[in-house]
Amino acid sequence: MRMRANTAIGGALMALLLGTAAAAVFWTPFDPLRINLRARLQPPSSLYWLGTDEFGRDVLSRVMVGAGTSVVIALLTVLLAVAAGTVIGCTAGYVRGWTDRIIMAVNDALLAFPGILLALAVMIVVGANKFGLILALGLAYTPSVVRVVRGTVLSIREKEYIEASRVIGNSEIYSMIRHVLPNAMAPVAVLATSMFGWVLLAESALSFLGLGVPPPAPTWGNMLAASRPFMETATWLSIAPGLCIALTLLGVNLLGDSLRDRLDPRMAHG
């Protein structure tokens, strides 16, 4: 019963997010980038549903466009981290021996780095643009994917159907691709959903620290960061983007839960 509730709410929130992002491509109440200095810092009104920011830009339109950018960044980063992490994780888990030890040593060293700051450094080197952000965050999250994939591969290697595949005469590589990988995807899928949330958070955090997707393209992160100085005089500026991030995260986490329950039935019912 709980699983269905998770899927329903989670699905609805994600649909809302993707819908807004798609709609924003064609229509937004105002041009999100047009500056209207006379309408600076206006509270939510019938004209501007969510008010205007310090440059007089319409917050609602920026939030809608921000949905698109944030989703694209999160999706591409997760794909990069999962792809890289799976390949490295599989080799480490399957090949064992020295390669495994070296990969894990580097992996642990990277994990010891505070993720956000690793991303910060990479972004400064590569330059603060979407591509830089995706590369930076992808690099920051690959180690956790490597750790999960390696752990899963190690447990699957012991299963009898891998030995059966050997008995049939399949080569080691074939066994890995045909049998190990598909079964390792389940835990990675669950990790990917939560990672989607982490990336959204990281993008906002980076904007807070002064780097992040460059303006004027709005993302929820840089809108939230920009609202900090006006917290007292224009409180609504920080409510809208923050709420969007929270709802998206809630959607992602709920979907992640239902995915995990479906893959591991024991957790769902008693």
Binding site: A164, S165, R166, V167, I168, G169, N170, H179, H269, G270
Partner: protein, 537 residues
């Protein structure tokens, strides 16, 4: 006769959510000091019925009707607190899985003392003394050390003894044993059950043994109760039920017990298909930082020949090296010495493609040997990948035919988790045989299945072997199954073959003491001795 210790009247247990009926209108009684067996296959509701007595139904199940009178007290009327007062001193329970029946984070002594401290007003020294006595009573070598040690330091058999001791410490009037020895090998099984019976007799405790193994019922129980899909099929004196069962299902259960079939000698003589000389397999010890522990040799100099189409059974307790021998002969494990010849060619070192393609392995656990992400049809078809000249059309036809032969026609599109244990084992066999191998190693192929299904799968295996003529190395600790299937029998202990001979020589005229002990421990139906005398003998 005083009122029975336990009277269960029209008990009904349902699944909380789906409302499915697990135990349907079951009534039975257990006299004081009596030994009753509850028999049934998985899904028959025997465990649910037993746990209802303790009021400890697993989550999701609930008592929907009926009355349970324990020591003349209607359990329904008891408050949770008074119900807890019964658990331990009045009714005790022993469980199936030794590995998880003791709390790993608490010392053995602490867990044993827990029950005593709850129910009796005695000081710590007295509790300790009683625990040590009981540990000695269950033949544990060093009670003092065991008292302070942790569960993970003991083998399955030892843990079962500790659990038995901690339950019997409270001198319960009724002991419920839920498949206490299923996870143990035959020798340990015999020791633990004898201990249980002895302890029960010391304190006049009546025992309710839940099992699917009719051999144990015949040896220990005075009365038996047969359950199927939650209903009582038959109940009465053990000897009467086993020798002259009234109901068809009971008869089917009795017949499922493997028994010595006609000795169809299939050995054609001539050159053996597979021959092994002085085979040795050693496991490296645990890798310490700078040195390695001393290695353990699992297989220590084995000579064995298997003729074309012949079935050689390998029997022995756990740790005797029989599984390692099977894996080594298929070259799935590195060998430390000795030689393996297949059709006259030495395959020990070089990776012989022909040997690999014409030898197969059937695993014990149906849940772990099939890839959960592949459909059943794809699993059976996978070995045909290495048969180049087959077109996809021919391949599909061959897979369909194979499924037909193992009795699972039309199930090609299903996923493994949608099938029962028995069906999955048939798929594993189909996968092994679809490429018509010359040599099949079957590692405990049926021991994980229920009795009736075991019989069906064994019959299927014999039919396919007769039809395809493959040689088979049949590894099992279940002598009954071996007796039905084997041409020749090999007995292994500590990595060596202690005795070898035809099936009749081994079963009728065992020479080696270990073989005799194995045969004695095997709970084969023994119609000669009276059930009651034997149980209490």
């Amino acid at each position: 006769m005083t009122a029975p210790l336990l009277r269960v009247d029209r008990l009904r247990v349902e699944a909380a959510r789906s409302g499915a009926v697990i135990v349907d209108d079951v009534s039975f009684a257990v006299e004081r000091g009596e030994f009753v067996a509850v028999v049934g296959e998985s899904g028959s509701g025997k465990t649910a019925a037993a746990r209802a007595v303790l009021g400890l139904l697993p989550p999701g199940l609930q008592k929907a009707g009926g009355q349970i009178l324990l020591d003349d007290v209607d359990l329904a009327t008891l408050s949770p607190r008074r119900m807890r007062a019964l658990r331990g001193p009045v009714v005790g329970m022993v469980f199936q899985e030794p590995m998880v029946s003791l709390n790993p984070a608490m010392s053995v002594g602490a867990q044993m003392a827990e029950g005593l401290a709850l129910h009796e007003r005695i000081d710590r020294r007295e509790i300790r003394r009683r625990c040590l006595d009981m540990l000695a009573r269950v033949q544990i070598r060093d009670p003092e050390h065991t008292f302070n040690a942790y569960p993970h330091e003991f083998s399955g058999g030892m843990r079962q003894r500790i659990m038995l001791a901690s339950v019997m410490l409270l001198k319960p009037k009724l002991l419920i044993a839920d498949e206490p020895t299923t996870a143990l090998d035959t020798l340990t099984q015999r020791e633990v059950l004898d201990l249980m019976v002895g302890l029960a007799r010391d304190h006049g405790t009546s025992v309710m043994l839940i099992t699917h193994n009719l051999g144990l019922v015949s040896r220990y129980a005075q009365r038996a109760l047969v359950l199927r899909q939650g209903k009582v099929i038959e109940s009465g004196d053990t000897r009467q039920i086993l020798s002259a069962p009234r109901e068809a299902y009971t008869r089917q259960l009795v017949e499922a017990l493997p028994r010595r079939g006609t000795a169809a000698v299939r050995r054609q003589g001539g050159e053996p298909l597979v021959s092994v000389r002085g085979l040795r397999v050693a496991f490296a010890g645990r890798q310490r930082l700078f040195r390695r522990d001393a290695g353990v040799s699992a297989v220590n100099g084995v000579d064995l020949d298997i003729g074309v189409g012949e079935t050689v059974a390998v029997v022995g307790g756990s740790g005797s090296g029989k599984t390692t021998l099977g894996r080594a002969m298929l070259r799935l494990m590195p060998t430390a010495g000795g030689e393996i010849r297949f059709r006259g060619k030495d395959v020990t070192a070089t990776a012989n493609r022909d040997f690999r393609l014409s030898s197969q392995l059937v695993f014990q656990d149906p849940y772990s040997s099939l890839d959960p992400r592949m459909r059943v049809g794809e699993i059976v078809a996978e070995p045909l990948r290495h048969v180049p000249e087959l077109t996809t059309g021919e391949r599909d036809k061959r897979v369909a035919a194979m499924l037909e032969e193992v009795g699972l026609a039309g199930l090609g599109r299903r996923w493994p988790h949608e099938l029962s244990g028995g069906q999955r084992q048939r798929i594993a066999i189909a996968r092994a045989i679809v490429r018509q191998p010359a040599f099949v190693v079957a590692d405990e192929p049926v021991s994980a299945l229920d009795m009736t299904i075991q019989a069906q799968v064994l019959k299927l295996f014999e039919r396919l072997q007769a039809q395809y003529g493959f040689a088979c190395l049949f590894i099992s600790h279940d002598l009954a199954a071996v007796e039905q299937v084997a041409d020749r029998v090999v007995v292994m202990q500590g990595g060596r073959i202690v005795e070898q001979g035809s099936r009749d020589d081994i079963f009728d005229r065992p020479q080696h003491d270990y073989t005799k002990a194995l045969l004695a421990a095997a709970p084969v139906l023994d119609f000669a001795g009276p059930a009651t005398a034997h149980a209490l003998g």
